[in-house]
């Protein structure tokens, strides 16, 4: 990243600082709800970051990304229900299962492209949704309450909201860094090359299918982590976490924030969720503004927020 002193850099720095200092502000003003809101924003930003990797850089428009939120979340929920509350068991399981699902789904879906890829990722996500909704033992459509959060060794206590927030924030920063490293690596360049011209990349000798699949699995795993965090945050999981409209929400975050930018997903998550909170306080019909806003962004502001803040740079 070239850290030029432009508006975009300043906004990024300000945002990061604000996120780090948030708990202190909450402590001073006592507005606990702000902490809850921003924990949620950070968790969903992580999911958006994972989607950004395959969507913007890999050119893989997955309409089933929310499935991994659900898989990660239910891994935690189901294990907790069965009495396994240790995070050291739950979280690796969540990551592993998400990776496995991503491997299978990706392996099959990446044999298609364009709108067919969109549809097939959607199909798999819906299938996962229906599988989970069909599990009577774990609540089905009614969902599953998680009585105890993931247990780790003291002093790490996820029920402490401030500690939990910092954990999520740390994981978010780590994933942003991870994505940045991937994108700027030779592997990442190859994937981006495959996005613009797959045939050419293959002609040069890159195994694009394998590279794309690897990207897909990494993205799915990261999203599974986000799901595990979300389950802990809400103490509740339900199949609704992975309904196709949720995948749509994630895509909106990525696009609003600015595709092809590292911090775009974070901008998008903050913008969308804060907008939701603020607007719904003003009018209950706020979505009537959001709808056309999206349309306008697509038509006129292709770079999203990141683009508006300065010249769009890759990486």
């Amino acid at each position: 990243m070239r850290w030029t002193l432009n508006l975009r850099t300043m906004v990024v720095v300000l945002l990061l600082v604000a996120l780090v200092l948030l708990p202190m502000y909450v402590e001073l003003t006592g507005s606990r709800f702000l902490l809850t809101l921003f924990t949620r924003i950070v968790i969903l930003a992580l999911a958006a970051v994972s989607l950004n990797l395959i969507l913007s850089y890999g050119g893989m428009m997955s309409f089933g990304h929310a499935a991994y939120l659900g898989i990660g979340g239910y891994a935690v929920g189901m294990l907790a229900f069965e009495g396994v509350t240790s995070g050291l068991v739950q979280w690796p399981v969540a990551l592993l299962v998400s990776a496995l699902f991503a491997l299978v789904i990706g392996a099959l879906s990446l044999r298609t492209r364009g709108v067919y890829f969109i549809m097939i990722t959607l199909a798999f996500a819906q299938m996962t949704y229906y599988i989970v909704a069909g599990l009577a033992r774990y609540g089905g459509d009614d969902g599953l309450t998680i009585q105890k959060r993931s247990q780790f060794f003291p002093p790490l206590n996820l029920s402490n909201k401030i500690q939990f927030y910092y954990l999520c924030l740390a994981l978010l920063f780590a994933s942003i860094y991870l994505v940045w490293r991937i994108v700027n690596s030779r592997f990442g360049m190859a994937v981006q090359g495959a996005r613009s011209n797959d045939t050419r990349m293959r002609a040069i000798g890159f195994p694009t299918y394998r590279y794309k699949l690897t990207c897909f699995v990494i993205a799915g795993t990261l999203c599974g982590l986000s799901g595990a965090l979300l389950a802990n945050h809400t103490d509740f999981v339900s199949p609704a976490m992975m309904y196709w409209t949720r995948s749509g929400d994630l895509i909106i975050m990525v696009v609003l924030g600015g595709m092809g930018s590292i911090f775009g997903p974070l901008f998008g998550a903050v913008a969308l969720l804060v907008l939701e909170e603020v607007l719904s306080g003003i009018t209950e019909y706020w979505q009537i503004i959001l709808g056309p806003l999206l349309l306008l962004v697509v038509l006129f502001a292709r770079g999203g927020i990141d683009g508006l803040l300065g010249k769009v740079r890759h990486g």
Binding site: M24, E27, L28, S31, R32, F33, T36, G140, D141, D142, G143, T145, Q147, T234, D235, F236, S238, A240, M241
Partner: protein
Amino acid sequence: MRRALLAASTALLLAAGPASAQQKSIKIGFISTFSGPVAVIGNDMRNSFELALDHMGRKMGGLPVEVIYEDDGFKPEVGKQKTDKLIESDKVDFIVGYIWSNVLLASMKSAVDSKTFLITSNAGPHQIAGEQCSPYIFSTSWQNDQTPQAMGHYMNQKGVKTAFLIGPNYAAGKDMLGGVASTFKGKIVGQELTKWPDQLDFSAELAKAKAEKPDAIFVFYPGKAGVQFLTQYAQSGLKGQIPLYTAFTIDELSLPLQKDLALGVPGAQEWVNDLPNDANKKFVADYIKKYPGLRPSFYGAQTYDAANLVASAVAATKGNLSDKVAVQKALEKADFKSVRGKFKFNTNHIPIQNFYLQEPVKDQDGNLVLKTVATIVEDNQDRFANECHMK
């Protein structure tokens, strides 16, 4: 750094100290469904709550009341989100409402963990009466099983020997069918649980019921689904062939849509419009006056009672809500005039009450109304009280 900040803010709070122990107003959070076809239920509950507040001069224990209404959109995860918001952001003193058992089950933990008193004025999953009962959870409705249990008794009285049960596949639906099964002495020749809330086409289930040729069909479908069920029941040719026995399927809200299809179909309920006590007469009369063209349903009656329950507790504790044990004891006394006449709580905070048989009839103007035909059971207790740790 943080400890210094904490110390400073604690000092500030202590200085402000005694003033914050006293309430300036009573904040009540209200969760119900205000969107989609079942919004009529949420609106009825809201109307009744507002009427109750009017009747008490919008003050409880001398303090002004503020109500924040939130829509659960008929979804457990949204209900939970809104509950969290009411507790954390709006810092309410009480939470009232909850139509749906699955929404309540998803939202309960937040209330219990934060020691916020929750009064459910409809949902009654067996968990809150039994293993998950809590000092902070109260019900002014019933436990789901109670009403269909009463219907089961009635079916026995009517000499029904075989029955087919149909209901939606979610927490309350399972409770309902289980409730009938626990008191009905005849043979249950079939049970169907349908996908909820998406499935509104019951032709498959009705066809299966027809094939089994039972003496009667028991059905539970709240809200819009109840209208659809009766319509399809008529369309399938079963009306007149196999009688229907219902719980929560026909009420003042669905009756205007079901019209003649509901004539003569019995239902069990702990409250009917025409119960002859003073509180009820005032409630119904003033409701019709304040909301012309509408009649209150049992959802509303239960909510009206919830408002009065909360008011009685606030008055008893003189507005000092920080003493949670005192508030709990005051709520348990249930020292208010219920629209259903006799009202007291069991050890698990579920009401002990009568259940009546209601039937839709045509009044002298030709309008469809619900009439109390008989008392099925008196002072009925739910069957999960033993599983509750509170004795």
